[in-house]
Amino acid sequence: MEQSWQLDNPILGLIVVGATFVLFYIVGFISNRQSKSAKELYVGGSNVGAITNGLAMASTYMSLATFLGITALILQLQVPFIMLWIQLILAIPLITIIYGTSLRRMGAFSPTHFIRDRYGTTASIIAALFMILVSIMYALGQMIGIAITFETLLGIPYITGLFIFGILIVGYITIGGMAGATNNAAIQMVIIALMFIVPLAAIMKAIGASGWYFPPLLYSDMVPAMMDALPSFFDYQFSPKWYFSIIPALTIGALGLPHLAMRVYTASSLKSARSAMVWFAFILGLVFSATYAMGFVGVFATTTQGVTISDGDADKLTIILNMVYNPEWVTALVIAGAISAGLSTLSGNLLAIGALISQDIISTLKPDISQRLNLRIGFIAIFAGGIASILLAINPPAFLVVSILWAFGLAGVTNAPLIIVGVWWKEANKFGAIAASVVAGAIYIIVSPFVFPSIVLTGHGVTDGMGLSGAMLAVPVSFILLIVVSYITNRIPALSGKLTKQADIELIERIHGWKDIKAYRYNSTIGAGITVAVSAAVAIWALMPWGM
């Protein structure tokens, strides 16, 4: 019999969610009274403390997927999905050490801001357009998740929930700007951690796990029963190639996500940005580990405790476990936590869209407009981005987490190589950047199952859908094109008039903290050659049969 999962008392859920919304509005309103310039709107005046920023980084990153999608995919893919998810914690540390501090020193609002200064207008507009696509896909996932939460748990029809709560959320983000979003995101992280881990402890206690007082790691006494009931749970299932493809798709992919990188620029100093990274790793590790525990407990409950969850309800695993084992008011708090998670990611996405449109496109094309007008365009862009994701969510794609992960790959293909190589190699130029972004971006889109379902690399639905196979081909192609095309065009005398070599050199020295210019710095042909060789090997490997 199909069981329908819904709160018996939706009013309770609405009161809890309403109370959290009021809190976010108040914090946003108070924080935003100082938001008078674009800098304050997008990077909180570059004046955010380490703990607040570390928490905000974690909460921006922990989307609604933590509550809805991940546990569902653990239920379906089991251990391989946990292995895939673990490395996502590398995002902020790698952004910080590879290019975050350099771009913070430069005073960039967004990664595309750097691309404009480094590669010129055309490359930056191409990158910005790809980034808007990435951000909208990401925001779309959150919108769908929020509407589904309201629909299935509170009984509010999908479209009604989508419009009412979508517009409320977009309103709060537009009013709050980055300062509001940062303060709110920090509060949201605390709410997410509490609403996830404390109810999980109660669930584990009800199931009889002796380590319920520290859910993220102490559930080993359930392992023997799990191994009896479902011996395959701990199997790796896939080949090393599958595990390797996670690196180009998600590790490098996360380096290109604009809303994450923007968090590094909000830091009050470089030292503070580095401390924020430490806080980020600690808190995210805690919540990620709890997520794996929740997935484990979900599989445990369905295989040994007689809890049945239909395929269509897999996304609601976390909330269903709470409904089964915890009182209703706890479930209401978990729903508020899920909404908070969606909200903080959504605000990061929409602010990125605002910065991309107003700073990276409009200001690039029309540099003379006033700061006031620019700020107003930013607010309009944030609002319009939100409305666009609401409208797209009217007809949602089948599986939201898969498409969010696919967006990671797109960022990894079209943006990350431009930033990484641009920061570390003076020879990278606009011809290389444009070739890399356009050609590799096109390859990634073509081999995805969404456009031409017959042109895919593995034929394994989730692997192609999450962009693992596509990114393993397109990310190295992007690096190769950027380096080889730049190297060749730098040596064609007819093109030298179109390049800004001296300005590029000065920019690179400056963002690394140097006051003088030295020819030997950031100029290694050997380093570029090794990158091309390794990339070529990875791309060829990606084209070989996957055996899936």
Partner: protein, 89 residues
């Protein structure tokens, strides 16, 4: 020259260390281990522990070294002055 070399080497090695620590699952997929640790299969719990505490430890190290290299770059900026800039450019 010294601070520059340190900066490049730090970034390369630190990036490699982060990728390694965050992708222990990849290593186990190549070299499977059939053993238990803290009541869990090693291939399950070690990637999770490394993905939390390993990464956390590395962020502490990376933060510290990063700050030190910044200071060294500052010092080189001050001591070298701009006297030899003209020679090398």
């Amino acid at each position: 020259m010294k601070a520059y070399k340190k900066e490049v080497q730090f970034t390369i090695w630190m990036t490699a260390a982060f990728i390694l620590v965050g992708n222990v699952g990849l290593i186990f997929s190549v070299f499977p281990v059939d053993a238990m640790l803290f009541g869990f299969p090693v291939m399950y719990i070690v990637p999770i522990l490394m993905g939390w505490f390993g990464v956390f430890l590395l962020t502490l190290i990376a933060g510290r070294i990063g700050n030190r290299i910044d200071d060294e770059i500052e010092r080189e900026n001050d001591t070298l002055g701009h006297a030899d800039e003209a020679k090398e450019v």
